[in-house]
């Protein structure tokens, strides 16, 4: 077995969730890496959509922003931002939303807005962007973020985008027909909401990771499903594809742009 890092395992496990049939709204960062690894391995026909309006994009390097020129150059078509959010997202055409976040709670609600009170924040984060409506309008949501006590918290200071709300049938009560978060892929394990309570529980543990380490890195007393499997280790092909795209990306981002000083 080839050596791999927890982050590589996370990206590859996230990539495996996707298939050729997915029409996927891609968040920047970890979700973008996972979606493109899927496209370059087992899901070559997946439709990747970025909120800049690029539909069916096939970037050769991972974009730094959601609107890099590479996304438009390689897209099947590009629409305006209002059309993106109105016709394609709100119109119900997108099967899967892939999000990351700064903080998550046990019902897969996400915070990317503030730490501390909204009016006097200790840390002002970027905010929601497309996430509030991605979370409610996509058929289902995958979330990928590293497991840590700072990130997986007992109580969110702010709900930027709703997952399963207060648990149970919150989504149905609010009139939503979409599934919400169905999988949370971390660097140590994979979580799924309990079918009834919607509380996230561990369903798959990555190779070499102990249950204790998962418990220690989660900010709430995390539950394990009745059946927990071991996540299959990354294959050589998966690792090769991920490392290649990361290397191409690093080179491109550091090298792009003229001159040393901006005007």
């Amino acid at each position: 077995m080839t050596d791999f890092t927890p982050t590589e395992m996370m990206t590859i496990a996230a990539a495996r969730e996707l298939s050729n049939d997915d029409v996927c709204f891609v968040g920047i960062g970890a979700p973008s890496a996972a979606c493109n690894v899927a496209r370059l391995t087992h899901a070559p026909d997946i439709t990747l959509i970025y909120e800049s309006g690029t539909v069916g994009t096939k970037p050769d390097v991972l974009p730094l922003s959601i609107g890099d020129g590479e996304l438009c150059d390689t897209a099947l078509f590009t629409v305006s931002v209002p059309e993106m959010f109105r016709y394609w997202l709100q119109g119900g055409r997108i099967t899967t939303g892939f999000l990351g976040g700064a903080q998550i709670d046990r019902f897969a609600n996400l915070n990317t807005t503030v730490v501390g009170p909204y009016d006097h924040p200790k840390i002002r984060l970027p905010g929601g962007g497309g996430a509030p409506e991605i979370a409610s309008n996509c058929g289902r949501i995958f979330i990928t973020m590293a497991l840590s006590k700072r990130g997986f918290v007992e109580r969110l200071p702010f709900v930027t985008s709703m997952g399963h709300g207060e648990g149970g049938n919150t989504r149905e009560r609010l009139g939503l027909k979409t599934k919400g978060p169905t999988r949370v892929i971390t660097d140590l394990c994979i979580l799924e909401p309990d079918p009834e309570t919607k509380e996230l529980s561990v369903v798959s543990i990555h190779p070499g990771v102990s249950r204790e380490r998962i418990v220690e890195n989660c900010g709430w007393p995390i539950k394990f499903a009745a059946t927990v499997i071991e996540t299959p280790a990354p294959t050589e092909t998966e690792l090769l594809v991920l490392r290649d795209i990361n290397a191409r990306t690093k080179k491109a981002h550091e090298g792009t742009g003229p001159g040393k000083e901006a005007a």
Binding site: I66, G69, V81, G257
Partner: protein, 285 residues
Amino acid sequence: MARIMSLAEAVAENVRDGDTVAMEGFTHLIPYAAGHEVIRQGRKDLFLVRMTPDILYDQLIGVGAARGMKFSWGGNPGVGSLHRFRDAVENQWPRPLEIEEHSHAAMANAYEAGAANLPFAMLRGYIGADLPKVNPNIKSVTCPFTGEVLAAVPAIRPDVTIIHAQRADRKGNVLIEGIVGVQKEAVLAARRSIVTVEEIVDELSPPSPNSVVLPSWAVTAVAHVPGGAFPSYAHGYYPRSNAFYIRWDEIARDRETFTAWIKENVLDARPEDYARHAETSAKVA
């Protein structure tokens, strides 16, 4: 009819202290040169509107030109925080910043409502999210046909919208292609508009009949500022400088390095200085 004039004249005539100003461009075609001219002319008490206030609004906030900002995502894309924005919100430096925060979907709908001369926009949005609790401008409306309750936000009607585009012809008709973002809506929603362009040409000759064209009679001023979108990009002219976006993190982290950068690259610079970015990139490409 749009008048073709210098950037300095366009800003002097169309941007006033206290104005609600939208500078749009969704990653692509961000009007940096025009924003810097606004800083150079010392405009103050602006209410800034922009879906993704990235480096450009970090700069306007950092110099104290803004009293408030309406936005939906305030970060340095793929890099991290906007440190000047954070300093204003967390520490009120250099002055307090009133914020009105929305989601992308709401902002896009609100621009479209402004362009359509409607008072508000509605969307199936904010469900289960906390923003409506902290932003009194997010309300709801009930569909008179189905009874469905939808989110409602006021239309965006800027005093002036500023954008950058690839080309204009000599009459002032403007062409935008690539990632077209929300610029058409932002211009049509505004009372006045300034468009900076890479080139002024005899004929627009759009390579695709579906390019976005803003007719001269819907635009107030056009200024020729090659390289004016740097460090964002102009599709077909020069690429995004991801390296600069990464480096901004370091420049903006500290008040002194930020202020020194603004002096050297904005206050002591001229719109013509942008041309080198277009030229260098053309050679690289």
